[in-house]
Amino acid sequence: MADKSKEMQKKEIEQTDLVERTRATKIYNPDVDIIEGKDRIVVIADMPGVNEKSVEVTLEDNVLTIYGRVDWDIPDRMKLTHAEYGIGDYQRIFTISGEINREKIQANVKDGVLRLVMPKNNTPKMKRIAVKAG
């Protein structure tokens, strides 16, 4: 079963030219699931170490940005002796289509998982135009 197991290694963002940052931490790309349903699109992002106060979701034009701040929670008196995951912030940027009703996007965080529910506009995609004789 070893080949079936997925590696959970965090992916560090390499591009830093987007914004000048004021925090001296690493930034990771959170793992996401994107599920499209009949009338909504759900984005689920794994961001361990983040709660509702430390996550920011912004929508600018068509660009949806998820940002999560993770604070170092190892007390001063402790030394890290073994490290497999890096402590750092999360950021991920998506482009959303006009299909989404931007007024009704909902976000919530529970147990380090951000869940964005984006309802679709329920305007019919195809409009039938009556053809008149004459």
Binding site: M8, D31, P48, M78, A83, V113
Partner: protein, 164 residues
């Protein structure tokens, strides 16, 4: 959160004794079945599924001298689904991360998150006080604070490094 000792679960083993086969055709069929069974890597649905690790959660260990703090990234778990077992020299964390229930007619565009069972054991570098350990699950991170035993603290000895 349940903190308990885990006793190893007995695996179901197949009955190895072969029944006397009379019908040659039936025996050939059984042989072919057996070939397929071994070819599929002995896939056995009777195996307790919790022993299979689908992913390895990442662990950090910090040390203050008196105690150790083990943190594990486990986003989106229910604390009831996390099992922490501690012995004097090892720590085992296991559980199951449940898959999202997808609405009817829905489809995935991306699946990067990992689900399933995990089972990880780490050896602890010193003897620890099992009864003094505390575990908590917050913001998708499991932290376990484990005090070292007094004996272990006493035995720790600094060796001075001298130059020539």
């Amino acid at each position: 959160m349940t903190t308990r000792r885990i006793t190893p679960q007995a695996k179901k083993t197949k009955d190895l004794a072969r029944l006397p086969e009379v019908n040659p055709l039936l025996s050939l069929r059984n042989d072919i079945d057996r070939i397929f069974e071994t070819f599929l890597g002995g896939f056995d649905p009777g195996l307790p599924v919790t022993t299979i690790s689908m992913f390895h959660p990442h662990i950090d260990v910090a040390d203050s001298g008196q105690e150790m703090k083990v943190t594990v990234e486990l986003p989106g778990m229910d604390e009831k689904d996390i099992d922490v077992a501690l012995t004097r020299d090892s720590l085992t964390i296991r559980g199951e991360k449940k898959e999202e229930t997808i609405e009817e007619g829905g489809s995935y565009h991306r699946t990067e998150r990992v689900y399933g069972f995990f089972n990880r054991s780490i050896a602890l570098p010193v003897e620890v006080n099992v009864d003094g350990a505390r575990a908590s699950y917050k913001k998708g991170v499991l932290s376990i604070v484990i005090p070292k035993t007094e004996k272990a603290l006493k035995e720790e000895k600094k060796i001075p490094v001298t130059g020539k």
